[in-house]
C-alpha cells in the first residue's frame, strides 16, 4: 500500500515541478535576459563596433561628475536612512503590540502610496514658496527662502523618505532576533547603557544594518523618479542621465554603455549583500 502510494507520487512530482518553471523562464528569458543582453551588445556596436562608448563615458569630466554625484547621493541617503531607521526599528522591536501596529500601519501606508504622489508631496512642501519655507519665514527664523529643492538637500529628503521602510522593516527583524536577556546579562556584568549599546547591541545588529544599508545604497544608485523631480540639473544622477541619452539625445550606444556600468555595479553590490545575509545565516544558525 505504502509502496503503491510512493510510486504514485514520486514520478509525478519532479517533472511537473520543472514544467512549472517553463512559463517563468520563457517570460524572463525572452523579455528580460534577451533585451538586456541586446542592450549590452548595442553598447559595443552602436554606432560602430568597439569600446569607444565606454572610453567616452569614463574619459569625460561631465560624465565623471554624474558618476561621482550618483555615489555621493546614494551614500548620503544610505547614511541618513540608517541613522533615522535604527532608533525607529529599535523601538518597533520592543514596544507594546498595539502601539507597534499603529506605527507599522503608518510605514506601510507610506510605502504603498504611489511613488509619484509621495514625490509630488515633497515637491510642494520643499518648493521656494512651499509650506516649509513659508512656515520658517512666518516664524521669523529665516528671511530668504531656503533652497530645499532642485539640489542635494531635496533629493536626500525625498530619497530617505522612500528608503526608510526598506531599512526599518528588515532591521526590526534583526533586532527582534536578539534575545533581550543578552542585554540584561550585559547590564548585570556591569555594562552601562552606553557600553551595552556599543559593545553588544550595535555589533549584534550590524549584519542587519549592513544588509539593509547595502540594499538602500544599491536601490539609490539606480533611482530615477525622485532624483529627476527633486534634484537639480547640476547634480544629475546616473539613471536620469541614461534616460536622457536615450530619450532626448537618441544616443543608444552611450546610453547602453552607461546602463551596463550601472548594471555591473548594482549586481556586484547585490552579490555582496547576498553574501552578508548568507554569512549572518551561517553564524546564527550553527
Amino acid at each position: 500500500m505504502s509502496v503503491e502510494a510512493k510510486q504514485g507520487i514520486a514520478p509525478l512530482r519532479i517533472p511537473a515541478g520543472l514544467g512549472g518553471l517553463l512559463p517563468a523562464l520563457i517570460l524572463i528569458g525572452l523579455f528580460f535576459v534577451v533585451p538586456v543582453l541586446a542592450l549590452l551588445l548595442r553598447s559595443v556596436t552602436d554606432p560602430a563596433p568597439g569600446l569607444q562608448n565606454y572610453a567616452a563615458l569614463l574619459g569625460d569630466v561631465t560624465y565623471a561628475r554624474v558618476f561621482f554625484n550618483t555615489f555621493l547621493v546614494a551614500l548620503v541617503v544610505t547614511i541618513v536612512t540608517v541613522l533615522v531607521a535604527f532608533p525607529v526599528a529599535w523601538m518597533l522591536a520592543i514596544m507594546p503590540a498595539t502601539l507597534a501596529s499603529v506605527l507599522f500601519g503608518i510605514i506601510i501606508l507610506s510605502m504603498w502610496t504611489n511613488l509619484l504622489t509621495r514625490t509630488y508631496a515633497w515637491m510642494v512642501l520643499l518648493q521656494r514658496t512651499g509650506v516649509i519655507n513659508r512656515t520658517l519665514m512666518g516664524a521669523g527664523i529665516i528671511d530668504q527662502p531656503l533652497p530645499l529643492i532642485n539640489n542635494l538637500t531635496g533629493v536626500t529628503i525625498g530619497m530617505v523618505y522612500i528608503m526608510l521602510p526598506f531599512m526599518i522593516l528588515p532591521l526590526v527583524g534583526t533586532l527582534r532576533a536578539i534575545d533581550p536577556m543578552t542585554l540584561r546579562a550585559a547590564a548585570l556584568c556591569g555594562a552601562s547603557p552606553l557600553a551595552a549599546f556599543r559593545r553588544i547591541l550595535l555589533p549584534l545588529s550590524l549584519p542587519g544594518i549592513a544588509a539593509g544599508g547595502l540594499m538602500v545604497f544599491v536601490m539609490s544608485l539606480g533611482y530615477f523618479v525622485t532624483p529627476a523631480l527633486l534634484g537639480g540639473t547640476s547634480n544629475m544622477m546616473l539613471a536620469e542621465m541614461i534616460a536622457q541619452m536615450i530619450q532626448s539625445l537618441l544616443n543608444w550606444g552611450l546610453g547602453s554603455a552607461a546602463a551596463f556600468i550601472l548594471l555591473v555595479v548594482t549586481m556586484a553590490l547585490y552579490a555582496l549583500q547576498l553574501r552578508l545575509v548568507g554569512v549572518r545565516r551561517s553564524t546564527g544558525g550553527a
Partner: protein, 363 residues
C-alpha cells in the same frame, strides 16, 4: 546570630490586579547556597529579578550588607547571574565573553588575561577560549556563562533555572560542577528551579514558593522529613495521601480513623486539629513494607501492579475504599506475590513516618 548579608524585606510585586510576590521576607547568610523552589508562576523568578534589578518591586526592600539595592541600577549592583537561556554574547569568543565584565570595568589588560585564564580553568574550558559560543554545546555554554558571572568576584550569584534547557545526564554533570565551584569560591548563591531533585542535590537551604509566598524554608531534610504543609509534602518527593478523620492528638502525634474504619495511632501532626476534623494522611512510598514490622500500622489492599527496580519494588495497591497507593518497599527475595491474585493482602507502614494535615478547602 549569623552575619547579616543579603536580606529581602516584605518584598511585594504586583502586575496590575495580579500579585506575583506577597511580602516575602528572607535572610541569606554569606556563602549560603539557597534555592527558590516552586512550580512555575509561584513568584520565585520574580523575586530573583527584583534582586537583579530587572523589575522594580511594588513595595519592600532588598538589602545587601544593610544597604538598599533598589536605587542601584543593574549594572552597578555587582551581582553575577546565569540565565535560563544561553545569554552568551554571540559575536564574542568564549574568552572575550568572560573578559566582558572586566573590560567594562576598565581592568588592566594583564589582570583581565589572568582572570579569564583562572575562570576558564575553574569551569574546565581552557581549550575553548577562542571559540565562538555557537560552536559550543549547551552545557559548555552554561559553563562559560558561569565563568562570566564569576569573573568579577561578585558577592552574590543568581542562577535562574540554568540547567532547564539541558538533558538529564548533562544536568547531573553540571550540578556536580556547580557544587564544586560553590565550594571553591564560597560565593553566596541564589538558585531558582522547579526541579526538586536539583534543589535537594545542590542547596544548603530551600525556600519553597507557592502562589507568591514562601510555604516553608529549611534544609532539604527539613522539607522532606518534616514538611510543614500538605503542599510541601506533595511537592518534595513522592507522597500518598489518604483521606482520614482526626481523632485526637498530643505532643505532635495523633491518632486517626481511615475510611474503612481502621484506626492508626502515633502519626506526626504539627497542625492543630479538632476532633472529627477531616484530614489527609501523607505516607511516603518508601515507608511501606510488604511484611509486618513491630509497631507498624497495616492496610488491607488489593495489589494492582508490581514491578522490580533492583533495590526497590514498585507496588501499586488499591485500598478497600478505592484510593490508589504508590508504594516502594525495599526488595525482598522471599516476596513474590502475583499481581491481582491477592485481594485482601496487607501492607504495612511506620506511623512515625506518616504526617497528618488538615484537608485543604476544595481539596
Amino acid at each position: 546570630m549569623t552575619q547579616l548579608f543579603l536580606s529581602i524585606r516584605k518584598l511585594r510585586k504586583a502586575f496590575g490586579a495580579f500579585t506575583a510576590v506577597h511580602d516575602v521576607t528572607l535572610d541569606i547568610p554569606k556563602g549560603e547556597f539557597l534555592t527558590f523552589l516552586g512550580p512555575s508562576g509561584s513568584g520565585k523568578s520574580t523575586t530573583l529579578y527584583a534582586i537583579a534589578g530587572f523589575q522594580d518591586p511594588t513595595s519592600g526592600d532588598v538589602l545587601l550588607q544593610g544597604k538598599s539595592l533598589l536605587s542601584v541600577p543593574s549594572h552597578k549592583r555587582n551581582i553575577g547571574m546565569v540565565f535560563q537561556r544561553y545569554t552568551l554574547f554571540p559575536h564574542l569568543s568564549v574568552a572575550e565573553n568572560v573578559a566582558f565584565p572586566l573590560r567594562v570595568r576598565r581592568r588592566p589588560e594583564a589582570d583581565v588575561k589572568r582572570k579569564v585564564a583562572d575562570m576558564l580553568s575553574l569551569v574546565r574550558l581552557e581549550s575553548f577560549a577562542e571559540r565562538l559560543p555557537a560552536a559550543l554545546s549547551g552545557g559548555q555554554q552554561q559553563r562559560v556563562a558561569l565563568a562570566r558571572a564569576l569573573a568579577y568576584d561578585p558577592p552574590i550569584l543568581l542562577m535562574d533555572e540554568p540547567l532547564s534547557a539541558l538533558d538529564k545526564k548533562l544536568r547531573e554533570e553540571i550540578q556536580a560542577e556547580i557544587r564544586r565551584i560553590h565550594r571553591e569560591t564560597g560565593v553566596t548563591v541564589l538558585y531558582v528551579t522547579h526541579d526538586q531533585e536539583e534543589a535537594l542535590h545542590l542547596s544548603d537551604r530551600i525556600a519553597l514558593f507557592r502562589d507568591g509566598r514562601i510555604e516553608q524554608i529549611g534544609t532539604g531534610e527539613d522539607l522532606y522529613l518534616r514538611p510543614a504543609t500538605e503542599f510541601v509534602a506533595g511537592f518534595i518527593g513522592n507522597s500518598n495521601f489518604l483521606a482520614a478523620e482526626h481523632l485526637e492528638s498530643e505532643n505532635g502525634t495523633a491518632s486517626v480513623r481511615l475510611a474503612d474504619g481502621s484506626i492508626v495511632k502515633g502519626v506526626k501532626a504539627t497542625h492543630k486539629l479538632e476532633r472529627g476534623q477531616k484530614a489527609r494522611l501523607m505516607v511516603r512510598p518508601e515507608a511501606f513494607r510488604m511484611r509486618p514490622v513491630e509497631g507498624n500500622a497495616s492496610l488491607t489492599v488489593e495489589i494492582v501492579d508490581m514491578a522490580f527496580f533492583g533495590d526497590r519494588r514498585r507496588v501499586v495497591v488499591r485500598t478497600g475504599w478505592g484510593d490508589e497507593i504508590d508504594a516502594r518497599p525495599i526488595s525482598d527475595s522471599t516476596d513474590r506475590s502475583n499481581v491481582g491474585a491477592v485481594a485482601g493482602r496487607q501492607i504495612f507502614f511506620d506511623p512515625a513516618a506518616a504526617f497528618l494535615f488538615p484537608a485543604e478547602q476544595g481539596a
